[in-house]
Amino acid sequence: MVVVEYIRDALGNTVVLPIVIFLLGLILGIGWKKALHSAMMVGIGFIALSLTINLMMDKLGPASFDMIERTGLTQFKALDLGFAPAAGIALGTVVGASVIPFVFVLNLIMLLTRMTKTLNVDIWNYWHYALSGSMVYFITGGNFWAGILAAMTHAIYSLLIADWTAPRIQKFFDLPGVSIPHGWATSSVPLIMGLNWIYDRIPGIRDIDIDMEGLKKKIGIFGEPYIIGAIMGIVIGIAAGWNFGEVTKLAMTLAAAMYLFPRMVAILIEGLSALSKGGQEFFKKTLKGREAYVGLDSALLMGYSGTVIAGVVLIPITILIAVILPGNTTLPFGDLAWIAFFIPMCAPLMKGNMFRTLVSGVIIVAMVLLISSVFAPAITSFGAEAGYVIPGEATGFQYITGMSAGNLVSLILYKIADLGAVVSTGITFLISLGIAAFVGFKRVRSERAMETQA
């Protein structure tokens, strides 16, 4: 523990993760030059991300403060900065940085023992597991192992769900060999299945669907993240009582931030790309032809236009929910342009029914807002350590958060850890590993039976 703390304090978060990436790259055999390139890209990506956040907060901070003062919407204590800063913060803690090697090795072990069929090469999205780990790290007052166990539990859960949903996903999107172990998407699966079950049992509701094509033509360019940023800038600027010049500057700044965030993430992803390819190669040698799925980003699910359109329609609905929902302290902003990422599993699990997707979307958004409000203090505290600008009293927001951090699985792990730190998280980890082992055992038996029959 002392070593871990020393590393964190002496080197800082933006150095630890690149070092971890470099070492993992060497272990996977991608060669020191590629490992170095990956490590540098990751480090640079973090700094680029930090730059963009500061750019945005420089104008958004004071604007939000003024807006909240003028409108009296003082229930908003946490500003949603979106997935990029949330991921940066989640991966930036000591637990977060360690999650990548731990989860990757766990995945390989689970693959070899057939507990899972998925090789999760979507390393960027390990950040959701890192979020669970970091939240547990926070609530246990800095218990590293509790955090790691929580992150691994989340990963096991996601891999099992990925395997279970794979056939449906592959058929719906025509993506052979793919599964989605995405840490957020998988957390929504039980809820969506439950809601679908309920819809099926309500006469009248169960038959409704909506046609998305007409809506699509009307939406057009308004779905662009930078346009959404600009519109939000105008709305917030006017609500803050700023003059025309200031409002337009705010709008442009926010449009720029919305446009830049994914591009900064792309730098980080470039760093992770060599690693994930290395993992795949390493894996092909050891699997020897047994069936495996490649675990990918839920961004692939954006290929269904119904989901994208529903995402845009949900934007104003999200703002409305945020205002009226009791217990919500989060002002949605950063993830508004990407609300579609909270509903991608609806389409394949509900056979493309857009009415059900929209209704479910409303429920999901409400849940996300509440959870991101709960996590706000922890995220803010880690954000301070990571060196991000903290919108303190000077900007009217006490906390920062991310809607993407509104993860039900993370919340459950957080509450479990609150009960008994390493003990309760350890038990949870063992239970999930046990379930995976059971699945693996049955799979090995059925695969052997098929081999002997062939």
Binding site: F173, V265, L300
Partner: protein, 94 residues
């Protein structure tokens, strides 16, 4: 002569970055020089200037004058050779 490929994905950053890097590397190994640009699936129409080929990570619902292929094999590692053969075919004709 450099060919230009447009790579489009769901959010303009994640999957398209992977595919762009892999396709550029794979084509370089075959002696073909490409420049890959990225964009969102919904922006394809506005980014077609000078593009020889489109690669997407999800099925494109519209068709354009430029040949397009599903780039998912570059993400999964399965079927990359066949896809590369098709891409090389298209680029060589230009």
């Amino acid at each position: 002569m450099k060919h230009r490929i447009l790579v489009a994905c769901g959010c303009g950053a994640a999957s398209s970055t992977f595919v762009a890097i892999r396709v550029a590397e794979a084509l370089a190994e075959r002696g073909i020089d490409v420049v890959a640009t990225q964009c969102n699936l919904s922006d394809v129409a506005s980014n077609l200037e000078g593009i020889d080929l489109i690669l997407t990570t999800a099925k494109l619902e519209e068709s354009f004058n430029v040949p397009s292929f599903l780039g998912v094999p570059f993400l999964t590692g399965i079927g990359t050779d066949q896809l590369l053969d098709q891409i090389v075919d298209v680029l060589m004709k230009k």
